[in-house]
């Protein structure tokens, strides 16, 4: 089992982003995802910057993938998506079927991201035929569901033809909207958002009126209110999961990367207070087992 560092889903300034990737270059993570998947207005780093960081990381023996935007509405966003898909250097994580279309037409192999609705072996067969090399499972799927998909893939004779990746650690991307919730929370219209999400590097908390941590607003994205942490579930991933994704919210993710990598060897268990892992156990995502 290997580990990946997901792309930064929050909006960080250039300096913080560069610091993050310098640290990452010296870490033990095998796979890295880079780039903007949430909002096309975020331009602290441009495509060229991401490719440059990616090229540097490739030299450090990281396998690098460029993530693409999940919700594309404007023509300008589609034009950017084409540039991302056809960048010519890094492979791409498709987070919309528009990206799958562009990549498969250009015969470029791709990673099928968690924002694509892929729920069964037949979906995977269709995407395999179009160049999929790796599947990042939708975040709401349980171990049982993955096991059923895996059995189905075996029947179709495609089980070993792609890698499977799951979100192991981080705030979960749960929904995408036309509305920018962060701008709304500051009473700003979306077209005058002032890129205010940059003030919330770990998103903005949404609690119930009784104080339960429900969600995190991240621009047009709604994320889980608590961090999903599957460290104690690593043993149950054997044979099902090839890559475990760490999704960054701060530099703390590197400590967790170390803990996950140690847990894989030591089979140690830790207390999960304040985290969630329900999805993996086929219950409410926000719960903890």
């Amino acid at each position: 089992m290997e580990f990946s560092m997901g792309n930064i889903q929050f909006y960080w300034d250039k300096e913080s982003t560069n610091d993050f990737y310098q640290k990452l270059a010296d870490s033990n993570v095998e796979h890295v995802y880079l780039g903007e998947s949430v909002c096309s207005k975020r331009r602290e780093l441009r495509l060229g910057d991401w490719i440059e960081i990616g090229s540097e990381l490739s030299k450090k023996d990281k396998s690098v993938v460029l993530s693409s935007l999940a919700l594309l509405e404007a023509k300008s966003e589609l034009a950017t998506l084409k540039k991302v898909c056809l960048n010519g250097e890094l492979s791409v994580e498709a987070n919309d079927f528009g990206a799958v279309e562009i990549l498969s037409q250009a015969k470029i192999p791709f990673v099928a991201g968690a924002a694509l609705n892929i729920y069964n072996q037949y979906d995977l067969k269709i995407l395999l035929d179009r160049g999929m090399q790796r599947w990042v499972a939708p975040v709401e799927l349980s171990r049982d569901w993955l096991l059923n998909v895996s059995n189905g893939c075996e029947e179709l004779g495609i089980k070993d033809k792609f890698e499977t990746e799951v979100y192991g650690y981080g705030y979960l991307p749960l929904a995408y909207s036309a509305r920018c919730f962060t701008a709304r929370s500051e009473n700003r219209p979306k077209d005058q958002c002032g890129l205010c999400c940059i003030k919330y590097p770990e998103g903005r908390k949404v609690d119930s009126q009784e104080g339960a941590e429900l969600f995190r607003m991240n621009g047009i994205q709604t994320m889980s209110g608590t961090i999903q942490n599957l460290i104690n579930d690593l043993p149950s991933m054997t044979g099902l999961v090839d890559i475990v994704r760490m999704s960054p919210h701060s530099l703390e993710v590197f400590d967790w990367l170390d803990k996950f990598q140690s847990a894989l060897v030591n089979h140690s268990r830790i207390s999960l207070e304040g985290f969630c892992n329900g999805y993996w156990h086929k219950i409410e995502g926000m719960k903890t087992v």
Partner: protein, 330 residues
């Protein structure tokens, strides 16, 4: 421009046909469709009766098989496609690529529409789904009018838009808030914020609505207490309590009718398979009148007060909005 009305039952279907819907959409009584609620939807028998009733009056029936096939029982989704074909429905509405491919290879003569649950918001995505022979795309409610107009220009495929009904603010089919809170989502069980998790409670602080024990909203006296769809609750952001994600309002595009007609939208969809036959009857009647008035004289079209009044009464929180359509920006 076709009027497409929702039917959660045979009486609703008949009401829609009687009031002039050009087509009616429905689902089977199982989790293969995104309105899998108790007491709703069609058995083989009622679907056959419904199709016959509609066909007798030259109307069309669309069947939604628009959830995502489970890996251990995908056959249920393929069977739903077969049933749609065998009973003689006119259109299959699907979102799952496995279901689309199955329909395209087994029943090539069955007309395919891409469900809103597939969240195709751009030309490249539409082109991807086009390979399955999709004839029409139902657009998610996240697009602005201008974005819909751009798409209409950029693709030859038929476009269907939501005209009226409950408003989903997320890109449909790409929202897991419901399973995060309850374990069940539209994609996996065909329901958002399922009724079995809802609890109402009178307290000293007001009437409380809960979903799986999470407080969604608290209503003062005289406040309109709506169903606790979780994205429409009042939550706390750094001490400020508000409808953080969305107010409980309904989409109403009556005022956009001439423009939607101008850009060549093929069909207007009314949301609400979960609503009563009376709802279907009133909404269909109002929209039929509006569309007919618009077609007769597009330049002079004006929304009649009685149409607006009727639709407001049928709306969530008695409020309506143009939703994302009125955005002038990205």
């Amino acid at each position: 421009m076709e009027l497409l009305s929702p039917a959660g039952s045979l009486p609703a279907l008949k009401a829609a046909v009687d009031e002039g819907a050009d087509a009616i959409y429905l689902g089977l009584k199982n989790d293969t469709n995104a309105r899998h609620f108790a007491g709703l939807n069609f058995t083989d028998k009622t679907m056959t009766q419904g199709v016959n009733y509609a066909h007798d009056k030259n109307r069309r029936v669309h069947v939604a098989v628009n959830t995502f096939a489970h890996p251990d029982r995908s056959q249920a989704w393929f069977d739903a496609v077969k049933k749609t074909h065998d009973i003689g429905a006119d259109v299959l509405i699907a979102s799952n690529i496995a279901v689309l491919e199955y329909a395209a290879t087994h029943y090539p003569e069955l007309e395919l529409h891409l469900s809103v649950q597939a969240a195709a918001t751009n030309v490249a995505a539409i082109n991807f789904f086009n390979q399955f022979g999709v004839q029409r795309v139902v657009l998610p409610r996240v697009l602005s009018y201008q974005q819909v107009a751009n798409l209409a220009q950029d693709t030859d495929i038929e476009l269907e838009v939501f005209a009226f009904g409950s408003l989903c603010i997320m890109a449909e089919g790409r929202c897991y808030l419901s399973s995060y809170m309850t374990g069940e989502s539209p994609n996996t069980v065909g329901a958002c914020s399922p009724a079995k998790f809802v609890r109402w409670q009178e307290t000293d602080q007001g009437l409380e609505s809960r979903l799986n024990d999470v407080l969604i909203d608290r209503f003062g006296e005289g406040e309109n207490a709506g169903y606790p769809t979780l994205c429409k609750g009042r939550f706390n952001v750094e001490g400020k309590i508000s409808h953080v994600l969305e107010e409980p309002t309904s989409l109403n595009t009556l005022s956009l009718l001439p423009q939607l007609n101008n850009i060549g939208i093929s069909a207007l969809k009314i949301e609400g398979r979960q609503r009563s036959p009376a709802y279907t009857r009133q909404v269909t009647q109002t929209w039929r009148r509006a569309i007919d008035a618009m077609k007769k004289n597009p330049a002079e079209f004006q929304v009649q007060q009685e149409w607006d009044r009727c639709l407001s009464n049928l709306s969530e929180g008695s409020q309506t909005t143009l939703g994302a359509y009125e955005r002038t920006w990205q």
